[in-house]
């Protein structure tokens, strides 16, 4: 397999995963503080945040495989005036820096709740800015398969969906980690998961349905589009049809599994402590589905004209 | 990259240094070494450009090959390496005085000369032994490098052994030395101009005096382009000359199964016609002209010309002793000797009406009629053809039927008119040369071939396989061929019956080939000898057309161990004892110089001849040749450096050429070189000569005979129109990528011009074939697989496999994978023994085996991988 073909799908998906997750963490933090108090909540999001940071750094590092001369990647900041790629890179750097600072003060600085909150939202903002710039890259008049509002919409949906499936995994990991360290935080995690898994599963189902709607709009747009768009469509239906189906199947299996897990939890057929394999599987399936989806996104674009 | 390693290793063993090889291959692009130097940042680009401008030297360089063009080409040589090429810029370009610009192949010549697949040194087949060894390994054996001495000794001893064992008629093809020692069998039969080769001299006296020159062509009102594609087949200037005629107001009508590349620019109208059915259409046009002509109200026929300048038009105008029914008019109208409509079964039956013809040729009757009327009512008309429609089995009368129409409409001998061949180097500009080279003044006389036996192109492979050939009417003669010598011709590739040829190559005791690359002949031989290209020789002088004379320089010293053909043959001849070692030929360079020193140019008056070059003693010293100082139009050194002299032309100059003008004015005083001195619509000699060849008995008039493997044979039941096992017609268009088989190995050309099988979407749909699918094409000879390109350009029912791809015969699958035309072409000896390449019938189906890679990604044929 050609590694270069996979750099962009993996890079963009991981970045979006991080943004979606960070956003949800910050929402949860905002809600959780009222219930459990700021310090306790912050304790429980340190490790998830750390994992997010590693993910972003891995993602951007991995993206360098996309370049033929990765050692010159800093030059990509030269064209902020007009290049969405430059802008994306800048946003991404700001995003990474803000997450690093955030993590630093979460870890080492006591108090300063307001600062933490603001910094967190800033990081989220930079994350979404990265996401936005990233989608703007593809709004090119020469690429009809990309050049529609559906591109930013689908990017955003992917971002949220990945966040929704990743959050419980991080929580569970933190839980297990803390247990191994014999720090007692399980009450909080368990409570949190019990409280939210149902909602998260519902959100995932909802996002998944939106996703299918967006995909059908995308296909519709290709269908009625220029020759190039129709060529894209033919690629999708002739060569890549199995991948398209695989992606949808993976998504539905994942969401089904998610809902089932949430229901079982609710009916107390499974204890929180045993959830990890389930939420992990769900997250993995969605990630694979989305990487496939993104791969297709890159694979089917066809330039207009000649 | 293993290739590179092998080459560098191999090179250290030759006189060439590793450095120079790396330079050559790097210069071909795609290798970081040089491309990096030229391709990096802006400063580097500028520096490189400057350096290039200062360091190198442009050398006029040959473009050879049998392509129909002769264009100007120059190579930029930096330190012994050719880094780029260019075409004619030796004078400013204008329509009247155009540059001789070349085609893509010419511009890719350095990839051919310096290709990694050049044959570098003499080689023998690994399992070869005297007598052949395991002969079935030919075509798939390994190669072993040998020295020139070893190679020449093997060849000489095998020639001796075989000629002594099997007698004089045992070697197929050869060179002067072989001919003088024991003789070699030659093959014969028109391959290029189809049946025109036999028909034109007998019906019209010559094929080269039919068309007018390019400036006169701007006077045409209508130009008919019948089975011709000068854009592809006379690349270079001719299509441009036609474009200028169009811009001067000529209308163009193309009659062709394919909307070809010339048509796409020139055609105002396209009349699609089935291959090999042209005679029927032409006869029906004659029918329309004769039956609708009314000298008073609707004059269609140029009676003045027909009466004075032709014989055989009607029964009153026949040579003595001829059957009165054998005249054009009665045959066309379907009349018997009493002028009544002939009954079924009569030889003139039926009338050749447009309805009769259209069932055969596929052109609707009204179209035949309106086309005939249009060419008769427009004046002047240039009625031009390529010879593709005569490269048809049984098509001996195509040329005669064509000439008849030209005569009836009076296109012969008039300004803006002309007719006949516009193909190959004859396209778009006819007339005697305005500039000519002198004699080479060689000292040695050429030696005769001791063997007089010639075998027809349609029979020689069978002769190898079965030991028999046709020697006269109803007469077969035995022959035992045990050696094949491929040289200066790609017989195993370009002649019909390649599938049998491969078997034949595995039967003989010895096979030898000389070439630049591992072309098909080399591949199936035992010993392969590397020859120099024209870029490594000193003797390339040619007329690109009537207006210019080229003297192309040697660009580089011979690469690796390549040698000239003359050197090879001399060494062989010395071993065979046919040459006197004491007498040597003068050098190529001296010969070329002599030809240029003697070159003459027509003066502006169009009559006197002027000497081309001025030569001084210093020039002789500088060129180190012998000669005497002389005065001419330009200094010899200037000519040598430019490589060309072109006669300036303009409208109204004295160089215009209107073919057959004098003949038209006074045919008695200026007869054609036919038996009667006139245009022979009844041609006794043609019928007689063809009969004597032994295959067919024909009438002296342009009778329509359905071609073997023609349209009619796509049916198993013609009356009820039931298709047979090979329901599609196939022909071979000459193609951009190659000049015949030459250039087929050149990677950038493989990339730019894919070898694809053409078929109409309608025929494809009926077979479940989609554009770009792999298909299997099957004829009675075998199968070939190729990618299909569906196109509306080609008429339904007709398919085209472009001519000349080097076969890639797969011994395991038993199919050819290169789309080699002649793998599917069956030898069918008919009438004059020409090759009927364009009459072939096939079936096509989807191929479900693995897809072939694009040709440009196939490994190059590098015969020795490791040394």
């Amino acid at each position: 397999m050609n590694i270069r073909e996979w750099t962009l799908p993996i890079y963009t998906i991981l970045t979006q995963l991080s943004v979606g997750t960070l956003f949800l963490i910050w929402v949860i933090r905002a809600l959780g503080r009222m219930k459990w108090g700021a310090e306790k909540v912050d304790q429980s999001i340190k490790i998830p945040l750390f994992i997010i940071l590693t993910t972003i750094i891995f993602a951007i590092g991995f993206a360098h495989f996309h370049l033929s001369r990765p050692y010159l990647s800093f030059l990509a900041l030269r064209n902020l005036q007009s290049s969405w790629l430059s802008r994306e890179l800048l946003a991404n750097l700001l995003y990474i820096i803000s997450v690093i600072i955030l993590l630093y003060i979460l870890w080492f600085v006591k108090g300063h709740q307001r600062l933490k909150t603001i910094l967190g939202w800033m990081a989220v903002l930079f994350g979404f800015a990265t996401d936005y710039c990233m989608s703007r890259i593809y709004l090119l008049p020469s690429q009809p398969a990309w050049n529609t509002l559906l591109t930013p919409i689908s990017f955003l949906l992917t971002t949220f969906l990945l966040g929704v499936v990743t959050i419980p995994v991080l929580m569970m990991m933190d839980l297990i980690f803390k247990r191994s360290q014999e720090q007692d935080n399980q009450a909080l995690h368990a409570q949190f998961i019990e409280a939210s898994l149902g909602w998260l599963a519902a959100a995932a189902s909802f996002l998944c349905i939106l996703m299918v709607i967006v995909i059908s709009f995308q296909i519709g747009a290709l269908f009625s589009g220029s020759t190039a768009a129709q060529t894209s469509l033919r690629l999708l239906t002739d060569i890549y049809e199995p991948l398209v189906l695989l992606r949808l199947v993976l998504l539905f299996v994942a969401v089904g599994w998610y809902v089932a897990t949430a229901l079982q939890l609710r009916q107390k057929k499974v204890s929180v402590g045993k959830l990890l394999p389930h939420v992990f599987a769900v997250c993995l399936l969605v990630m694979v589905a989305e990487i496939l989806g993104r791969f297709l996104f890159y694979a089917i674009h066809v330039r207009i004209g000649i | 990259m293993t290739e590179k390693n092998f080459l560098t290793k191999a090179l250290t063993k030759t006189a060439l240094t590793r450095r120079s090889f790396l330079k050559w291959s790097a210069a071909l692009g795609g290798t970081a070494a040089l491309a990096g130097g030229l391709g990096y940042g802006l400063k580097a680009v500028e520096a490189a450009a400057e350096q290039a401008a200062n360091e190198g030297k442009w050398v006029p360089a040959a473009c050879w090959g049998n392509c129909g063009g002769r264009c100007y080409n120059a190579a930029y040589v930096v330190d012994g390496v050719v880094t780029r090429q260019k075409t004619d810029d030796t004078h400013p370009d204008s329509p009247d005085f155009p540059q001789q610009r070349g085609c893509a192949r010419g511009r890719a010549q350095r990839h051919r000369v310096f290709g990694a697949d050049r044959i570098k040194y003499p080689m023998k087949r690994a399992h070869w032994e005297p007598g052949g060894g395991d002969k079935s390994l030919r075509g798939r054996d390994e190669w072993v490098r040998i020295t020139w001495d070893e190679a020449l000794d093997i060849v000489a001893s095998e020639i001796k052994r075989i000629s002594e064992t099997y007698g004089p008629n045992s070697i197929l093809w050869g060179t002067e030395a072989v001919g003088a020692y024991c003789g070699y069998i030659n093959t014969w039969g028109s391959t290029s101009s189809g049946t025109w080769a036999y028909t034109a001299p007998r019906v019209f006296g010559s094929q080269s005096t039919m068309g007018n020159d390019r400036l006169d062509m701007r006077n045409s009102k209508l130009i008919v382009m019948w089975s011709t594609d000068p854009t592809v087949c006379s690349a270079g200037s001719p299509a441009y000359h036609y474009l200028l005629s169009k811009r001067a107001g000529a209308k163009f009508i193309f009659v062709d199964p394919f909307y070809n590349w010339s048509a796409q620019v020139l055609a105002d109208e396209w009349i699609p016609i089935r291959p090999g059915t042209d005679t029927a259409m032409l006869l029906a046009m004659g029918y329309v002209l004769i039956s609708e002509d009314d000298p008073e109200n609707n004059p269609l026929i140029d009676w003045d010309f027909v009466n004075r300048c032709t014989i055989g038009f009607d029964k009153n105008n026949l040579p003595d002793g001829a059957d009165p029914e054998d005249n054009y008019k009665d045959y066309v109208l379907g009349l018997d000797r009493r002028g009544r409509v002939a009954a079924e079964g009569h030889k003139n039956y039926p009338p050749k009406t447009p309805e009769w013809a259209s069932e055969i040729c596929g052109v609707p009757p009204e179209k035949i009629r309106s086309f005939a009327l249009e060419i008769a009512q427009t004046k002047p008309v240039a009625f031009m053809e390529g010879d593709a429609s005569a490269r048809i089995n049984d098509a001996q009368t195509m040329g005669q039927a064509f000439t008849a129409i030209a005569a009836l409409i009076g296109s012969i001998g008039v300004s803006g008119g002309g007719f006949g061949q516009t193909r190959h180097s004859a396209a778009g500009n006819r007339g005697p040369n305005l500039i000519s080279a002198g004699s080479a003044n060689t000292v040695l006389e050429s030696l005769d071939n001791l063997c007089e036996l010639r075998i027809n192109n349609n029979e020689f492979w069978d002769a190898v396989l079965t030991g028999e050939y046709t020697s006269a009417v109803n007469e077969k003669t035995q022959v035992n061929i045990q050696m094949v010598y491929h040289t200066k011709g790609s017989h195993l590739q370009t002649k019909v019956g390649q599938a049998r040829g491969i078997q034949a190559m595995r039967k003989v005791e010895f096979a030898l080939a000389t070439d630049f690359h591992m072309a098909t002949g080399c591949r199936y031989s035992d010993v392969v000898l590397p020859v120099t290209t024209m870029w490594e020789r000193d003797n390339y002088i040619t007329n690109p057309n009537r207006e210019a004379l080229f003297w192309m320089n040697k660009v580089v010293e011979p690469l690796f161990e390549a040698k000239d053909d003359d050197w090879i043959d001399r060494q062989l001849g010395l071993r065979l004892g046919v040459y006197d070692p004491a007498v040597e030929e003068i050098s190529d360079k001296q010969q070329s110089f002599n030809r240029i020193a003697g070159a003459t140019v027509l003066a502006a008056d169009g009559k006197t001849k002027e000497t081309l070059v001025t030569i001084t003693q210093e020039d002789l010293d500088a060129l180190s040749v012998e000669g005497t100082p002389q005065t001419g139009l330009i200094p010899v050194m200037e000519y040598f450096e430019k490589g060309t002299y072109q006669v300036p032309r303009q409208d109204g100059d004295n160089f215009s050429y209107i073919a057959n003008q004098a003949f038209r004015e006074d045919p008695e005083a200026n007869p054609l070189r036919t038996e009667s001195g006139k245009v022979e619509l009844h041609c006794r000699v043609l019928a007689e000569d063809i009969y004597n060849l032994g295959w067919s008995k024909i009438r002296p008039i342009p009778e329509y005979i359905p071609a073997k493997r023609g349209y009619e044979e796509t049916f198993s039941d013609w009356k009820n129109k039931v298709k047979g096992p090979y329901p599609l017609q196939m022909y071979n268009k000459h193609y951009w990528r190659r000049s015949h088989s030459e250039f087929d190995n050149v990677l950038p050309l493989r990339e730019l011009f894919p070898q694809e099988f053409n078929m109409n979407p309608i025929d494809a749909e009926a077979r479940g074939i989609k554009d770009g699918d792999m298909v299997k094409i099957t004829s009675s000879e075998g199968s070939s697989i190729r990618r299909v390109c569906l196109t509306e350009r080609i008429m339904p029912g007709v398919t085209n496999l472009p001519h000349g791809a080097w076969t890639e015969f797969d011994d395991e699958l038993g199919v050819d994978k290169a789309g080699s035309d002649n793998y599917l072409e069956a030898p069918v000896p008919t009438v004059e023994g020409h090759s009927g390449f364009n009459s072939q019938i096939v079936q096509v189906e989807k191929w479900d085996g693995p897809r072939l890679l694009p040709d440009s990604q196939w490994p190059q044929r590098i015969p020795i991988k490791e040394v």
Partner: protein, 191 residues
């Protein structure tokens, strides 16, 4: 004086012979897979039954013509807008160039260009494209492709002057709409 060098292409003269494409490959040492100048055959029409004699198939508006294109040195070069490293720039004479020292090989320009002009050279690891034969121009010579064309279907010059001579057409099928990047080209259509 605003300057903009431009190509002229005469579709009514072009035979699709690809001599221009090969000239470009030769002059610029382009490997297999990279073609700064490309030639396309574009066709249409079909075959129908003859209205009066259904046994004959006749061509119905079958046409083919060729287009030869390279970088259009656009007035609005989307490639340059997209390039994050500013490796692509427009010179005073309108020629759009790639400074290969700056190229990081992200291949974004390849997506952005409507004409497929930028092509990535794997071996060098940089983006490449037609540079209008700038070295030849500097020496007062014509671009290699222009001088090779046997049909004299290619030309070049100041955009304004070309427009005065040949009109304003700058897009024919199958080329994309000229609104996208304002290509510096003047075209004589096929018919």
């Amino acid at each position: 004086m605003a300057k903009q060098l431009a190509f002229y292409f005469d579709a009514s003269a072009c035979t699709g012979c690809k001599a221009c494409a090969m000239a470009c490959k030769d002059k610029n040492n382009l490997p297999v897979g990279i073609n700064w100048r490309k030639v396309f055959d574009y066709g249409g029409g079909g075959w129908i039954q003859h209205p009066a004699h259904p046994e004959f198939m006749i061509p119905n508006n079958v046409f083919v013509y060729s287009t030869s294109t390279a970088c259009m040195h656009c007035e609005k070069p989307l490639c340059a807008e997209a390039c994050p490293a500013k490796a692509i720039f427009k010179r005073d004479d309108g020629v759009v160039l790639i400074d290969k020292d700056l190229c990081i090989g992200c291949r974004y320009c390849e997506w952005a260009c409507p004409y497929g002009a930028p092509q990535f050279n794997e071996e060098l690891g940089v983006m490449t494209k037609c540079d209008f034969c700038q070295d030849y121009l500097a020496q007062g010579q014509n671009p290699a492709c222009v001088d090779q064309c046997p049909q004299r279907a290619l030309g070049f010059g100041e955009l304004d002057e070309l427009r005065q001579m040949y009109g304003n057409i700058n897009a024919i099928e199958p080329l994309p709409s000229s609104d996208i990047s304002h290509p510096a080209i003047v075209i004589t259509p096929h018919k």
